[in-house]
Subunit: 214 residues, 2 copies
């Protein structure tokens, strides 16, 4: 398998964690999101992903796009260890937590979105920082409530093994720290992160451990 | 089942389509996103969904949040007719198309996001319209390419029966029209929409046919 990735991309980070949890060997193909005006916008890369986004995963003849679609694919192709629990209700809980991060926080932090607000809408740096932190605080505050209120939360977002929601949570925390967000109001979130950080699958996937890390 | 919904919410619209495709009877509980300063922010509703977002689905003791998590749940609980194809590769394709809409277009059009840009960041109406249309054009342009280039695209986003991606596509088109987006560059997208619009499941789910439509 071949993963088009960028060390700091939180979506690529999610997929790297999942690949490592599954023990799948893969080749990293770095796509630099800033250099050359953004290599993800090159004609060559747009053939792989017309959205101009990382990650993309090549598996044989298949080209897979969108981090969460890739993780579900990996979970179906390599069922052990499972990244989703067994019952439909529990699976919906885990997907709900993952999508809270993927749909309600991460899109607003995305490089393209922040660049648009800066260059097209003319927002100043302070306004951009406020924007960034606002969506993290809003999302994490709901996530903290959902995690702390449920007895299904364990060492990880769901039970005692890491899964789909943890694959999204840890990269989002990396992003939050990059932008100096205050995380003291989220003890459950940071407790789960600490548990994840003990796993080599998460360690190997971390931005600073990527071949293209700067 | 009880669906907390708002007639114009595109996320609630997705779930209404899926419920109708599955033939599941449900009770609509309208949550007005504007009236009373936004009923989704009431203490009562925040107990159901701490994110303050519709939809939420109540099924017995379970409270389900996040439209795509709810649709996957419905697909697992009521397997017929399937909303995802059989093979992992094809499922990843459909999820990838759905997430392109759910993660790369819809969040930027979301009421809360547009309100933040207006009230906190001080964007003028023209800038808000530009923002809204930018993300629709960018997302639809990639989606059109992915759909038109694949022989897996049929009458619907994947093959000859409607599925998860179509549940996301039709509400996004409703949003695009609301904001006068030019759709002439997306013949495959609008062809699929036309096919969806012949199905009573899609018709019954349309905003104008909801009990709370204004």
């Amino acid at each position: 398998m071949k993963l088009y990735t960028y060390w700091r991309s939180s979506s690529a980070y999610r997929v790297r964690i999942a690949l490592n949890l599954k023990g799948v060997e893969y080749e990293s193909v770095p796509v630099h999101l800033v250099k050359d005006g953004g290599q993800q916008k090159s004609a060559e890369y747009l053939k792989i992903n017309p959205q101009g986004l990382v990650p993309a995963l090549i598996d044989g003849e298949s080209v897979l796009r969108q981090s969460l679609a890739i993780i579900e694919y990996l979970d179906e192709k390599y069922p052990q260890p499972p990244l989703l629990p067994e019952t439909a209700g529990a699976r919906a809980r885990v997907r709900g937590l993952a999508y809270l991060i993927a749909d309600e926080i991460q899109p607003m932090n995305n490089l393209g979105v922040v660049q648009y607000l800066k260059h097209e809408a003319g927002l100043k740096q302070q306004q951009l920082d406020d924007w960034y932190r606002h969506w993290i605080a809003r999302g994490f505050s709901a996530l903290e409530q959902l995690l702390s209120a449920s007895d299904q939360t364990g060492q990880f977002c769901h039970g005692e093994t890491p899964g789909l929601a943890d694959c999204c949570l840890v990269p989002q925390l990396y992003n939050a720290r990059r932008y100096d967000c205050d995380l003291t109001a989220y003890p459950t979130i940071t407790r789960i992160e600490k548990n994840c950080s003990r796993s080599s699958a998460f360690q190997k996937a971390a931005p600073e451990n990527q071949p293209d890390a700067e």
